[in-house]
Amino acid sequence: MTLVFAAFAVWALAWWGNVWLANGPARDMTATRLAVPVIFGLTLLAIWELVVRGLDVSMVILPPPSVIADKISTSLPILWTDFVQTFVKGALSGYVIGIAAAFVVAVIADRSSFLRRGLLPVGSFVAAMPIVGTAPILVMWYGFDWQSKAAVVVVMVFFPMLVNITAGLQETSAMQRDQMKTWAASYWQGFWKLRLPAAMPFVFNGLKISSTLALIGAIVAEFFGSPISGMGFRISTSVGQLALDMVWAEIFVAALSGSVFYGAIALIERGVTFWHPSQRT
């Protein structure tokens, strides 16, 4: 029980520290920007450790972070294989294909308002189908290896991307489009030089949302059939074996790679849409 109280104390202390950092003299330093979330995360981990140990929670229900960290350090090769299988082969390729497909359809919808009005409602209906339902079907169609995982990811990212690209392509003002007209620009000149750059803030919005979806999709799809590697495979079989430390090790890798992926896209976004007001302060 003392450990549980210690957990509360840690929480209060760290929070106070963060409030001080965030509002204090160093509030705008890069180091502070990094330190605050890190301290917050470490606090969560500390509380987790203390509560699990304090309440003597069974290892088959929730292992403490220290045990998970230990497992991670001893299973790096497995974690790496799984990461390659799920993230690189499944999620990334599906992500790329899904985005490309969304672009093609968005341009088609852009050129014909008839198709836009028809495709978008139907598309949102299709997107509302839960992946837990579509995944088994796609595994049945595309086999057990990463191709079916990529297919699931394609289905998941397609719609958010389509919506965002379509919205982005509408983003130019009437004046900007009229300007292009007065120069007698062709559709594609207008597309490359005006509409696409203007759409970028939206496109990146979609890319960011899709990045978290892609990884989740690839992992979930592995629950419905997979080769004997992959993060989803490892998680589901490890739960069956009550190897909860392995489960959390994989979850950690998933969260880490997902966050890094997200962060990388946010970084590219800064570079590409440097001109947008939201990036300028």
Partner: protein, 255 residues
């Protein structure tokens, strides 16, 4: 050179049609400097847009150099300066000015030459590498004018280009514009809210009035082509200004 006869333009909106232009007749000669003035909503912008084939008239006829406006646009006859600067924030000032040149397929070398020239013309020589948001409003407006000048279109259409500038800058740009016009012999259509500006610049002042938008007066300016700034204190100037003001007042509800 530009001829509008019995031009009508009606917008269909949710709460009924809006007649933006009714029975507009106007002749603009090659080399004319025509100003459009009139209260808000009288159809100045709409008329300029119709010339540039950005709106399609619902009645009457309009020809540009004997072609339809659409054909003239395809032939890249227009330089259009919109009311707001409308620079693309992801391109530098030079990049923005280069844009229409890229689209029209000028060579790289030609592009550079022209960009440098017009940047100089609007006093932005050292700002080519800056992004639009790093410039004050007035500088952006000038960049947008430079962009319209870069490809040497025969017809220059300008919709309140100096609206956001203070008097001194405005005077300066007015002078520059007059010089450019005198040198190149372009045809210029110019929308403004300022009476002195209209009188100072134009060979022909078109006064418009709203609901429905129509032309109430066309004033040929007797002023010489050469116009120093202090011509604005001359009796001829003041007389024309007075006539414009009267025409304008008739379009308002006050007094």
């Amino acid at each position: 050179m530009i001829t509008a006869s019995h031009l009508d333009l009606t917008f269909e909106t949710n709460d009924g049609p809006v007649q933006a232009l009714r029975d507009v007749n106007l002749e603009i000669e090659k080399g004319d400097f025509v100003s459009f003035i009139g209260p808000s909503g009288c159809g100045k912008t709409t008329f300029l847009r119709t010339i540039a084939a950005l709106e399609t008239p619902t009645g009457g006829e309009i020809t540009v150099n004997g072609m339809t406006p659409e054909e003239a646009r395809k032939a890249r006859a227009y330089g259009y300066v919109f009311q707001a600067a409308g620079l693309y924030p992801w391109r530098t000032i030079a990049g923005n000015i280069r844009l229409p040149l890229e689209i029209m397929g000028f060579t790289k070398a030609e592009q550079k030459k022209r960009v440098d020239k017009v940047l100089e013309l609007v006093d932005l020589g050292t700002f080519g590498k800056k992004f639009p948001w790093q410039l004050s409003g007035g500088m952006q407006q000038r960049a947008s004018i430079a962009r319209a000048l870069a490809f040497d279109a025969d017809i220059l259409l300008m919709d309140e280009p100096f609206g956001a500038l203070d008097e001194i800058v405005r005077d300066h740009l007015n002078e520059e514009l007059l010089k450019l016009w005198a040198r190149t012999g372009k045809t210029i259509g110019f929308v403004t809210h300022s009476i002195p500006e209209a009188v100072y610049l134009s060979t022909k002042i078109v006064v418009m009035s709203p609901r429905p938008g129509r032309i109430t007066d066309v004033i040929e300016s007797p002023l010489p082509k050469e116009r120093p700034l202090d011509i604005r204190d001359s009796p001829e100037f003041l007389e024309i200004a007075h006539r414009v003001r009267e025409g304008l007042r008739a379009g308002h509800a006050y007094d």
